[in-house]
């Protein structure tokens, strides 16, 4: 089946549908949002598999065993970091894309050990419990949680998760974000290392320049210090705390301030223009539906990843994040 849209466009369209469903009359339609989440998952799988495939191809040029970080650790990004990571690659070969669009939905899932937090857990991801932001790490062997059988050595994994039982599914450290104010869709890479490193090298804990917004200037409402469990005060527009999982950060749905501007596909993903934004998504399906989801029985646990996602995204105020 031909699809005139690439995976990234489908992701942004899907996010907008989910967002607009929050303000539709009659409340959130569970069925429709579930179906949209499937498209989101399918598109994301394809998108990530294409990206990983490309990164793998690039990594063939690097010496074996050298850790290749998607984001540079400390100051200047090593020249090895492919600048193309900042750009959303579009498959140039339509045929190749089509060939992969069918298979990649499956093979991409096998290839990646990315914990897919989305509905449905058909990929049998073990939810992981981790309070530290994710990062990418090249591994000669399988990363934590077990690389898939047949995973190519040197392939990048999102590997910061401790695949414990229960707990919160962890969002991938590469996130696609829809800015609700400008309707710009950006893919943001988490820029920092494991918590151990952060404490010694605070300058590491910033997103790589040019790929995510610079750290918020002093005086802004929100300061994010990765690695710290800072209580978020003055959470924007949301129900404070919102019945979250014990110990979880407050959840901040931002549906009330939705602005429906014309979405222009000509807008380049310009992350440097993004001002303070909040991620309103946690992980999994509950992250898709706000508190307005007509289910008072279910305590909102969508904030499980929001803290990490927030920290990793730097300064976002209103955004929907694709897990």
């Amino acid at each position: 089946m031909e699809c005139t849209l690439d995976a990234q466009s489908l992701i942004s369209i899907s996010l907008r549908k989910i967002h607009s469903s929050r303000t539709q009359r009659g409340g959130i339609k569970l069925h429709k949002n579930l179906l949209v989440s499937y498209v989101l998952r399918n598109a994301r799988q394809l998108y990530l598999s294409e990206r990983y495939a490309e990164l793998y191809r690039r990594q063939q040029h690097y010496p074996d065993g050298a850790p290749l970080l998607a984001m540079p650790a400390c100051p200047p990004p090593p020249a090895a970091a492919p600048p193309e990571l900042a750009v959303l690659p579009l498959p140039t070969d339509a045929q190749d894309r089509e060939a992969r669009s069918c298979g990649a939905v499956r093979s991409g899932a096998e290839l990646l050990e990315v914990p897919v937090c989305a509905v449905p857990p058909e990929l049998q991801r073990a939810p992981c419990r981790d309070s530290s932001p994710g990062f990418y790490r090249a591994t000669g062997s399988a990363g934590p949680g077990g690389g898939g059988a047949g995973a190519a050595p040197g392939l990048l994994y999102a590997a910061s998760c401790d695949f414990g039982s229960g707990g919160a599914p962890h969002c991938s450290s590469r996130t696609t974000v829809l800015d609700l104010d400008t309707h710009v869709v950006t893919t943001v890479e988490n820029g920092y290392l494991h918590q151990d490193c952060c404490s010694q090298c605070p300058c590491c804990c910033q997103p790589a320049p040019g790929l995510a917004s610079p750290p918020p200037p002093p005086g802004t409402k929100r300061k994010y210090y990765p690695g710290q469990e800072e209580e978020e005060e003055g959470v924007e527009e949301g129900e404070p705390g919102g019945g979250g999982v014990a110990g979880g950060p407050p959840f901040a749905p931002c549906s009330k301030r939705a602005r429906f501007e014309e979405y222009s596909t000509e807008h380049p993903p310009d992350s440097s223009n993004i001002s303070n934004l909040i991620s309103i998504f946690g992980s999994g399906f509950t992250g898709l539906v706000s508190r307005q989801q007509a289910d008072s029985e279910q305590p909102l646990n969508g904030q499980l990843c929001s803290k990490q996602a927030l920290a990793s995204l730097g300064a976002w105020t209103r955004a929907i994040v694709a897990f």
Partner: protein, 449 residues
């Protein structure tokens, strides 16, 4: 005429009979018809709309003077069934749109129907009044009370004929039983109970009891993160009061027997067709979601509708349908656009004719399709004002998929996706169909020779 007679596709010529609704260019959203249903005899035809109103049409007695005009349907009763509500606790607006109407079999002079919006089911009694009492002692003809001390003579009130008045009164309100949006209601063949289904649960009600219901299906996972499918439609077996089916967003149907346990989470039968991997796409999950499920009148088959096909299943064969009909397969290459404009989420219904030999469902451009199960012929017809001359025979339509377009054909790109036929109904015993086209209701009949 018996539905079984001359029901083959080539024998039936469908003619325009009536159209209800306005011709205004701008369609008020409240006037969009959201459900259509004949009662068990076909004498009454009910519609519900997005504005929460129910309109009931009644068929005229056939006139010997005009035998070529089989009884026409005229408005019998109109009433406001549901109003918009606001759930303050959850900060939710509840739409007044009528999702489904289901008739109860007639047991006395009055008619009873169930109507439901997203949250509340109501039992309505529709009854006629053609007499009224006159000659009260304590009040005069205008209804003003008389001063009892001024009454000197007593009289017995008498019933006098009056102009026929049809009144609808809500007899029961079944509320507060659904957290999610109700998509189906179905009257049991015992005529004492009915079920209502939302995205995750199905409840069983007794018509007499409004303050409680039994939960018979619950597919809500302990952790909503693990939600993978929802209930999309449910229906009782036409004869076996213990049996019902429900369909899911994953394209599966479960048949349940209420005798086995109180909570029917375990199905007695599970109908699923394996997915064709060559058809896999971004939208595979969406187009496999079942939008409607209907038992045949015989109770031997079930019919399901998903976005592109109608399928007939034999209750005795769970691993695949016995028949699959392509409704508009030319849309398969357009799924991306249909996802963008939300059409891919349209929920089409499907219906059986009285003898279960023909099935019908709607499509876009005000097209609707019929499939003859015996001859395997199919036809595409259109509900439009242009074809609305009395007794005008409907001409079959054809969508041109590619290549040269013939004169009468319409190309896929010319289809009007805002004109969708989601709701249709077939008279229980005759070749009379009701087709809802946005805010208009078309009634077609087969040609009378």
């Amino acid at each position: 005429s018996l539905a079984g007679f001359g029901n083959l596709m080539q024998d039936v010529l469908w003619c325009f009979s009536q159209v209800k609704g306005t011709i205004d260019i701008g369609v008020a959203e409240a006037d969009i018809i959201s459900t259509v249903e004949f009662n068990h005899t076909g004498e009454l035809l009910a519609t519900g709309d997005k504005g929460g109103r129910v309109v009931i049409f009644q068929r005229e007695q056939e006139s010997k003077n005009q035998p070529h005009r089989r009884g026409e349907y005229n408005v019998y009763s109109t009433f406001q069934s549901h109003e918009p509500e606001f759930d303050y606790l959850k900060s939710l607006e509840i739409e007044e749109k009528i999702n489904k109407i289901r008739w109860l079999p007639q047991q006395n002079a009055a008619y009873f129907l169930l109507s439901t919006n997203d949250k509340t089911v109501k039992l309505w009694k529709v009854s006629e009044r053609d007499k009224r009492p006159e000659g009260y002692n304590l009040k005069d003809e205008d209804g003003r009370l008389r001063d009892p001390s001024m009454i000197t003579v007593l009289r017995v009130p008498v019933l006098r004929p009056m102009d026929l008045m049809v009144e609808a009164t809500p007899r029961r309100v079944f509320a507060n039983a659904h957290t999610y949006h109700i998509n189906s209601i179905s009257v049991n063949s015992d005529y004492e109970t009915y079920m209502s289904a939302d995205d995750l649960r199905i409840n069983l009600w007794n018509f007499e009891i409004t303050n409680q219901s039994f939960n018979i299906v619950d597919i809500k996972p302990a952790n909503m993160e693990e939600l993978t499918e929802v209930i999309t439609a449910a229906e009782f077996h036409p004869h076996h009061c213990n049996t019902f089916v429900y369909s899911s967003s994953k394209g599966t149907i479960r048949l349940c027997d209420m005798r086995t346990s109180a909570l029917c989470d375990r199905h007695a039968k599970f109908f699923e067709e394996p997915e064709d991997p060559s058809n896999r796409s971004f939208f595979s999950e969406i187009i496999s979601s079942i939008s409607d499920v209907k038992f045949s009148h015989s109770g031997r088959y079930i019919m399901t509708r998903d976005y592109l096909t109608v399928k007939v299943w034999d209750l005795n064969m769970e691993n695949r349908p016995i028949e699959t009909y392509q409704v508009h397969d030319y849309l398969r290459s357009k799924l991306c656009s249909l996802y963008e404009n939300d059409c891919i989420f349209d929920k089409f219904e499907c219906v059986w004719n009285g003898s279960d030999s023909v099935i019908m469902t709607g499509s876009y451009n005000n097209f609707f399709r019929m499939f003859d199960r015996n001859t395997k012929r199919d036809v595409t017809l259109e509900a439009s004002r242009e074809n609305s001359k009395p007794r005008a025979i409907l001409k079959p339509r054809k969508v041109c998929v590619g290549g040269k377009r013939r004169k009468d054909e319409i190309s896929v790109d010319s289809l009007d996706f805002s004109k969708k036929i989601l709701h249709t109904a077939w008279h229980p015993s005759e070749n009379i169909i009701a087709v809802a086209a946005t805010n208009n209701l078309y009634i077609f009949q087969d040609k009378v020779n």
